[in-house]
């Protein structure tokens, strides 16, 4: 019996050892990949150093590898996004018959967790869709490949791509991926034009010259019953709205919330920002207890008719157009007034593509990424399919911009705004700063539970504590 126990113990230890070594499996050995790694040409095995610009292997579009290559791509589940990827992958595979691109998609939350668990194990795909604000934390961990200079140099990337989206992909002066979209949550607002016309709040037609005009119009759109707000005039109190407005207004007032590696908002600009945000509450434009991220979230609330003006990015239009087609027809995006000379705003980079440091087919992976992101027509095709704003400067104006506006007229006010976007900055954990610190603390202030001084200090201490 003792021997049996010994056998079981040995097996147990073997399993533990094997499970610890499990992470060494190559990505192409994962079940979703159909072609084994052994089929990859030796020349494409991973190298620690990046290929130099003049090396011919770095330009597979000109000399595609003859042997069959399977490229695994991971994305989060968003039908519009993934249809756009599939169309471009089909096009790429038609040009490169030896390359087979397989997509594996994950629910958003599951995707984050899968990336976190797969990367230490080395089982992630070759090409990884990433949101810009995540990139540096993965890059600093050594999980992402630096963009080869043959694909694009850092200087060229900064020249070709809008500052806010590319900002998320630059870590310690190295480029770790290429953005495809400009994520924007501030600068323009959804306006229910039918309601605004009915109530005589017509300032939106020529654009509001200043906040006084805006407040005047928004007040006309508020509805209350028995002292309870049943329709908000200006719903800005969701998590993204509060966090981006807070940081954007600080920029517009001439402040900088990131200074010398420290987060600083206990400043006159921080005070002015909170004062303006509180003014919206005091003027009765929104009740922050009834309208926030948990209740009457701005997208739902606007399209259900309980908010007349809503602060949220243009991505909500395709999201809600199926269920609220009539509301979409009367909706217009209108630029918000600025408190500074320029309508600066903080932006959280955008979705884009990166390549795993563990990939055994980096050359092909980068070639595909280049094909999708840096070719202006392909990039536009993806923006059109996904309903997103362009990251490429070439596509912010000109024919491709016209195409976008034709298909998505609500993009028009944003295209002029994009030049004022500033990357929100690198935080060890941006979501923590946005959703766990800024949003709840500012909401608490707007609900009247804390002073401006207390709020700014709490935010500043909490954010600096996370560095």
């Amino acid at each position: 019996m003792k021997k049996l126990l010994v056998v079981i113990t040995v097996l147990l230890l073997a399993v533990l050892a094997l499970s610890a070594c499990g992470g060494k499996a190559t990505p192409t050995q994962a079940p979703a990949a159909e072609k084994p790694a052994a089929e990859q040409p030796k020349a494409e095995q991973p190298k620690a150093e990046q290929p130099k610009a003049e090396e011919p292997t770095a330009a597979p579009t000109q000399a595609p590898p003859a042997e069959k290559v399977t490229l695994r791509v991971w994305t989060h589940q968003n039908n519009a996004f993934n249809e756009g990827y599939q169309a471009l992958a089909d096009k790429y595979m038609a040009d490169h018959p030896n390359v087979e691109i397989t997509f594996e998609t994950f629910d958003y939350d599951a995707y984050i967790q899968t990336l976190q668990t797969a990367m230490p194990a080395g089982t992630e795909a070759d090409v990884l869709q990433m949101f810009g604000s995540w990139v540096c934390s993965y890059a600093e961990g050594g999980n992402l490949d630096v963009v080869p200079e043959s694909v694009i140099t850092l200087d060229d990337a900064q020249a070709k791509i809008m500052a806010a989206p590319i900002g998320g992909y630059i870590c310690d002066d190295k480029l770790y991926g290429i953005p495809q979209e400009f994520n924007i949550e501030y600068g323009a607002v959804l306006v229910n034009t039918q309601l605004a016309d009915e109530k005589g709040a017509t300032g939106y037609k020529d654009g509001w010259a200043d906040w006084d005009e805006f407040i005047q119009d928004a007040k006309k759109l508020v509805e209350t019953q028995d002292g309870v707000m049943t329709r908000a005039g200006f719903n800005f109190t969701a998590a993204d709205g509060i966090a981006t407005m807070f940081h954007s207004l600080i920029l517009q007032y001439g402040g900088q919330y990131l200074q010398d590696g420290q987060y600083k908002v206990t400043t006159p600009e921080g005070q002015k920002t909170l004062a303006l945000m509180k003014r919206f509450i005091d003027e009765g434009l929104v009740d922050p207890v009834l309208f926030n991220d948990e209740e009457n979230w701005v997208g739902d609330s606007y399209f259900e008719g309980t908010s007349a003006i809503g602060l949220v990015g243009p991505w909500v239009i395709p999201e809600y157009s199926g269920d609220y087609p009539d509301m979409v027809k009367v909706t217009q995006y209108v630029r918000l007034p600025s408190v500074g000379e320029e309508p600066l705003f903080a932006a959280a980079s955008g979705w884009g593509l990166t390549v795993s440091a563990n990939s055994k087919v980096k050359d092909v992976a980068w070639d595909f990424v280049k094909f999708v992101t840096l070719n202006a027509d392909n990039a536009t095709e993806w923006n059109l399919a996904s309903g997103t704003l362009p990251a490429l400067k070439d596509n912010v104006s000109g024919d491709n911009a016209k195409k976008l506006v034709e298909q998505f007229p609500y993009f028009e006010p944003f295209l002029d705004l994009l030049q004022y976007g500033r990357f929100e900055g690198h935080f060890p954990d941006r979501d923590f700063v946005w959703y766990e610190v800024t949003y709840p603390e500012v909401l608490n202030f707007l609900q009247g539970n804390a002073t401006a001084d207390e709020t700014l200090k709490t935010i500043e201490d909490a954010v600096n504590g996370s560095f």
């Binding site: 049996l4 147990l12 976190q116 961990g141 050594g142 207890v289 979501d431 709840p440 609900q447």
Partner: protein, 330 residues
């Protein structure tokens, strides 16, 4: 005649060879399964509690530990003991989550038992034919997915479109828009109303289990004991307190331990209904662990909190079982 020398015995030789083979075939896969899916994650979780580990960082060569994911010893546990007002946000959130979890469990256990035990007695007292109907009715919410239950109760508590406010509005004769789940100022005896709201939803879904347990226990009480009491002139109330409750003590202990462990593990209902809000008033420990492990990538901290959570549940379960231990047998 000299005895034959003992034969060397192989692992699967001897009289009980077939038993050994049977054991090996049946037990080894189970042991391996447990080792892989239970033991290894447990050891891994325990180890992480002593590192500043984030899965986003590559770290050292052994399972990513060390290097960019440094060993910090007991630093996480020391941080948990920092009760000063300038403690880091995650530490203060841990204190809040610990307090909320304990309040939640301490409210859920007595509330659940005080509803399910009398209800079980009532169901047991009705006509035989109607019993299955009531048992099924009260057990049905257990079968409903927790997320669905959370969404349904979220609608009931919605400030503008919610059923609860609609009823209150009808009674009051004017519009009522109380934000049960989102107003941080709403409290009763210092306990947030949002916490009461999620407790209502939680008990509604969870009480079916205890109900079934109590009904089974009530059916196992020998009828002659009650008969004897009745002959001695005991009324229904006296029989309930003097016979039913004492004889049910082992079951009450079991139900309270199970309910408490389950209450400590509450997650999905709270995540969907409030996501820990307003202002952390419903932030329980599991939600805190989940947020720091998977949203903020502080897995070392999350593992340390999970370890504390495990010890907490263990200690309270032991105390509870000692406190409610009974010598009754029947």
């Amino acid at each position: 005649m000299s005895p034959s020398p003992p034969q060397p015995r192989g692992l699967f030789s001897g009289r009980d060879r077939s038993i050994k083979i049977f054991l090996a075939v049946t037990v080894v896969p189970l042991v391996l399964y447990m080792a892989f899916w239970t033991l290894f994650p447990l050891i891994w979780g325990f180890a992480l509690a002593f590192f500043e580990y984030s899965p986003r960082r590559a770290g050292g060569p052994i399972l990513g530990l060390g290097g960019a994911n440094p060993y910090v010893g007991l630093a996480h546990f020391q941080a948990m003991l920092n009760f000063s007002s300038d403690a880091p946000k995650h530490v203060r959130q841990f204190h809040t989550a610990l307090k909320v979890t304990i309040i939640f469990a301490m409210l859920v256990v007595p509330l659940n038992l005080s509803i399910t035990l009398p209800l079980a007695v009532l169901i047991e007292s009705i006509h035989q034919r109607l019993k299955p109907l009531f048992r099924t009715t009260f057990f049905l919410p257990v079968l409903a997915p927790a997320v669905g239950v959370a969404i349904m109760w979220g609608f009931i508590f919605h400030p503008q479109r919610g059923l609860l406010n609609a009823i209150l509005g009808k009674l009051a004769g004017h519009l009522v828009a109380i934000n049960w789940l989102g107003d941080p100022k709403l409290t009763v005896f210092g306990i947030p109303v949002a916490l009461f709201a999620v407790i209502v939803a939680y008990i509604w879904q969870d009480m079916g289990y205890n109900l079934v347990i109590f009904i089974a226990a009530l059916q196992s009480i020998p009828p002659n004991l009650k008969e004897a009491a009745r002959i001695d002139g005991a009324n229904a109330w006296q029989m309930f307190w003097k016979i039913t409750i004492p004889l049910l003590m082992p079951t009450i202990l079991l139900a309270s331990v199970l309910t408490m462990i389950s209450a400590f593990q509450v997650f999905d209902i709270i995540q969907v209904m409030t996501d820990g809000g307003p202002r952390g008033q419903t932030q329980v420990l599991l939600l805190h662990i989940y947020n720091y492990a998977f949203r903020y990538q502080k897995m070392g901290w999350a593992a340390a909190v999970a370890l504390v959570f495990f010890v907490l549940v263990l200690v309270i379960s032991i105390i509870q079982s000692r406190f409610l231990r009974t010598q009754w047998e029947y």
